[in-house]
């Protein structure tokens, strides 16, 4: 980590922070294209955020300080995780050995405070959404960690930057089927954690069927801007893990690497848009089967990798 790299990190961080709403826009445009519509303008998510930041806040008289703390802690946890996840380049700002565990638990911390903020309103709808969110979060966590086990085995490291870097490229040559299974499992985890079809439908208008949207019904103004931005950032971060796991390459110069990663993320967003346009969401009881499926996939990947590494 040289001084030059430290200076280079500033524009990179700015780009990482600016990109997330764009990915949402790509998903929306893809869905609009499938529906034969023009869709909202490309910069609509940015306009929405600016609008929310300029609005006042209304708090229900039932809520306490937990409700106000929820969006702040959630966004802070995700920003903190952003310093540990490689997005454009192959290294991270503050990464260290064992940071994968910290990343997963930071996401969990954000989830906990969001869910508690929902419970704080005393609304039964939000309680229902909270219950679903923790249920699916709990079930996706084993699949995520088992995928981490596979990556750690294949790359002999516990630092995410190394687990997704050059050693992984060698692992793809060695146990490609296992890596494919891990990518599939990570895709399911991504769709679950970011509340996308087939787990949750961000476009639904019925509170009874929502998960993420119903939890944040009572938030408004800057609080809601924080939540919306945090959701987009979560998509970027988990998407980056997925993209790096699917297409690892040796460290190239940043000016080649960064645009390439942006393109890959855009393709991922398009893929999510295609999934949303072509699949119906699952019945709620079926979601646990999908997540169990992700767990089985990563379990098979672990078995395959064990064969190679413990021969």
């Amino acid at each position: 980590m040289t001084v030059l790299r430290a200076i280079g990190a500033v524009p990179e961080a700015v780009a990482v922070l600016a990109l997330p709403p764009m990915l949402l826009s790509i998903i929306a445009k893809t869905k609009a294209w499938f529906g034969g519509r023009d869709g909202p303008p490309w910069l609509q998510p940015y306009y929405d955020l600016m609008k929310l930041l300029r609005k006042g806040v209304v708090y229900s008289r039932t809520t306490t300080w937990v409700f106000r703390a929820g969006p702040i802690v959630n966004l802070a946890a995700l920003l903190c995780a952003a310093t540990l996840i490689p997005v454009f380049s192959d290294d991270t700002l503050l990464g260290f050995g064992g940071d994968v565990i910290l990343i997963a638990y930071l996401l969990a911390l954000g989830r906990m405070l969001t869910v508690l903020a929902a419970m704080d309103t005393g609304s039964s709808f939000e309680g229902m959404g909270a219950s679903r969110e923790v249920t699916f979060g709990t079930m996706s966590e084993p699949a995520l960690f088992l995928s981490f086990v596979v990556l750690a085995l294949a790359t002999k490291s516990l630092s995410l930057a190394e687990m997704l870097g050059a050693p992984l490229q060698a692992a793809w040559g060695d146990v490609a089927p296992a890596m494919l299974l891990v990518v599939a499992a990570l895709l399911i985890v991504l769709l679950t954690e970011t509340c996308r079809v087939p787990v949750d439908d961000p476009a639904t208008h019925l509170e009874l069927t929502m998960i993420h949207e119903v939890m944040v019904l009572d938030h408004s103004g800057p609080d809601f801007a924080y939540i919306t931005y945090a959701a987009a950032l979560k998509f970027l971060l988990l998407g980056s893990i997925l993209v790096h796991a699917a297409l690892p390459h040796a460290s190239w110069a940043l000016w080649i690497d960064a645009p390439l990663r942006v393109v890959e993320l855009a393709v991922l967003a398009m893929l999510v848009g295609v999934i949303e346009s072509s699949l119906a969401r699952l019945r709620l009881q079926r979601v646990s089967l999908l997540l169990a499926g992700a767990f089985v996939l990563s379990g098979l990947a672990a078995v395959l990798t064990f064969y190679r590494t413990h021969a």
Partner: protein, 468 residues
């Protein structure tokens, strides 16, 4: 008090020579079973203190996993594994004493304030006892193993031991380590669900009826909790100060050099000081975001004629009874694990247009209590009565088994019956799961019999060395 068992275990281990690998694997398996079942039963509880007690079962499981990994390292001669396994376990013992103590004190304050510990009758206490609520939330975040508090540091090291186990030991042990990673992740998620349930229902939302009007927590109680809370935060934010101390404990249990723990931590994970840096970044981000939010809100203040109610999706007459209860909150998770837990649910649903009162009752019987300890103690009491009465039957007549036990399917029977029913139903997911399961079994057999695998490595080398 429950840590006495752990202390005895560690003391005995320090006297014994390194035990064979099988013992270590059994220990890890015990940890996994205790941890997962403990947190699942905790999720099913309706009483605050019982729920916390079940979480101790879970945390002993985490400690057991750490000790198991330490034993595994001892059996296979991996000093890093020994250091991380025992070190994580010891640190978690300390952490558990801190956050669980805080949780019990806080729960005591709840009961003192309201006169009940029944979760579904409480609500909205954060408004009445804000300080106690803050302490409970802090301890809850810590027990879920979330950063930046002390619970995370302990679990992080145990995770380190388990991840190190997946790659540095032979296949079967590595597989058990991977199982440990998965279970620890599952436990983390379930503990989060459980404490969201408790904190959300007891402290947040609207006050439910049926409790005494809550009074503020007395100052002396707050002071006691404050000390524990400060320690929880201190270990979480400055692990670099506390973690090396566990090295001394590891040295006592296992024959390790004085610097082995300090060496093992950076070689597998990172120096614990790195967590402090991230904690600082995290707190800095929280402060920045809070200041920005405050500025924006003050600039665009909204003048409301009166305080507003929660948006009820168009329904304007919501009462506190309509809030989501703890039982409903936990049900979706419990029903996903029904094959393991067999939760009982008796629903008397309203049927006709003018129906009588509806009724719902849910209860989860503890498998260990019902199927292990109850028969054990019944047998013990029978034996003692046989001795007392000097007869084989143990007259006077034995007490009958409770009716509930015979109604309920035993867990093992339930799994078999459920699996058969699932196969009959022809669900494709179940077939896929069975295929995966079969593959795993084949893999396990393969590992067991393959030449060069750990189970047979010794005899083969003997044979090769033998004269032809």
């Amino acid at each position: 008090m429950i840590k006495t068992g752990i202390y005895g275990l560690l003391r005995v281990l320090s006297w014994l020579p390194p035990l064979p690998r099988t013992c270590a694997l059994v220990m890890v398996a015990f940890g996994v079973v205790s941890g997962v079942l403990g947190v699942l039963y905790a999720l099913a509880q309706h009483d605050l203190k019982r729920l916390l007690a079940y979480h101790s079962v879970e945390n002993i499981g985490i400690i057991g996993m750490g000790i198991g990994m330490g034993m595994l390292g001892g059996a296979l001669g991996k000093p890093a594994l020994v250091a991380l396994g025992y070190g994580g376990a010891l640190l978690h013992v300390l952490n558990h004493a801190l956050f669980k103590g805080l949780l019990f004190l806080s729960a005591g304050a709840v009961i003192q304030a309201t006169g009940t510990g029944e979760i579904d009758r409480l609500g909205g206490l954060a408004r009445k006892t804000p300080v106690n609520a803050a302490f409970f939330l802090l301890a809850a975040i810590s027990i879920c193993g979330l950063p930046p508090l002390n619970g995370f540091v302990g679990e992080w090291i145990v995770y380190g031991a388990l991840f190190e186990g997946t790659r540095s030991v032979p296949r079967l042990s590595a597989g058990v380590s991977a199982l440990g990673v998965v279970s620890l992740a599952l436990m983390g998620g379930l503990a989060l669900a459980c404490f969201v349930k408790v904190f959300g229902v007891v402290f947040l939302g609207k006050e439910r009826t049926g409790t005494r009007v809550a009074r503020a927590t007395p100052g002396a109680m707050r002071a006691g909790m404050g000390v524990l809370a400060v320690l929880c935060v201190a270990i979480g934010v400055l692990p670099g100060l506390i973690v090396p101390l566990t090295g001394a404990g590891v040295q006592v249990i296992a024959d390790l050099g004085p610097m082995e723990f300090e060496r093992a931590l950076p070689s597998v994970l990172a120096p614990a000081g790195r967590l402090s840096l991230l904690a600082m970044v995290f707190f800095g981000l929280i402060a920045t975001l809070a200041v920005v939010r405050r500025g924006l809100i003050q600039k665009n203040a909204v003048a409301l004629p009166s305080p507003v109610a929660t948006w009820g999706c168009g329904y304007a007459a919501a009462t506190p009874r309509m809030q989501y209860t703890a039982s409903s909150f936990a049900w979706s998770l419990l029903s996903s694990f029904r094959a393991l837990l067999c939760p009982e649910r008796r629903l008397h649903a309203p049927a006709a247009v003018f129906s009588e009162a509806a009724h719902l009752e849910s209860h989860t019987v503890d498998m260990a209590e019902q199927d292990l300890f109850a028969p054990l103690f019944r047998a013990a009491s029978r034996v003692s009565r046989m001795i007392q009465t000097l007869s084989w039957t143990g007259e006077p007549a034995m007490e009958r088994r409770s009716a509930r036990a015979s109604e309920r399917l035993r867990p093992f029977v339930a799994v078999v019956v459920g699996a058969t029913a699932a196969v009959r139903r022809g669900s494709i997911h179940v077939y896929v799961a069975f295929i995966a399961f079969t593959l795993l079994v084949v893999f396990a057999i393969e590992v067991w019999v393959a030449p060069g695998a750990e189970g047979h490595s010794a005899p083969i080398s003997v044979m090769q060395g033998a004269p032809q």
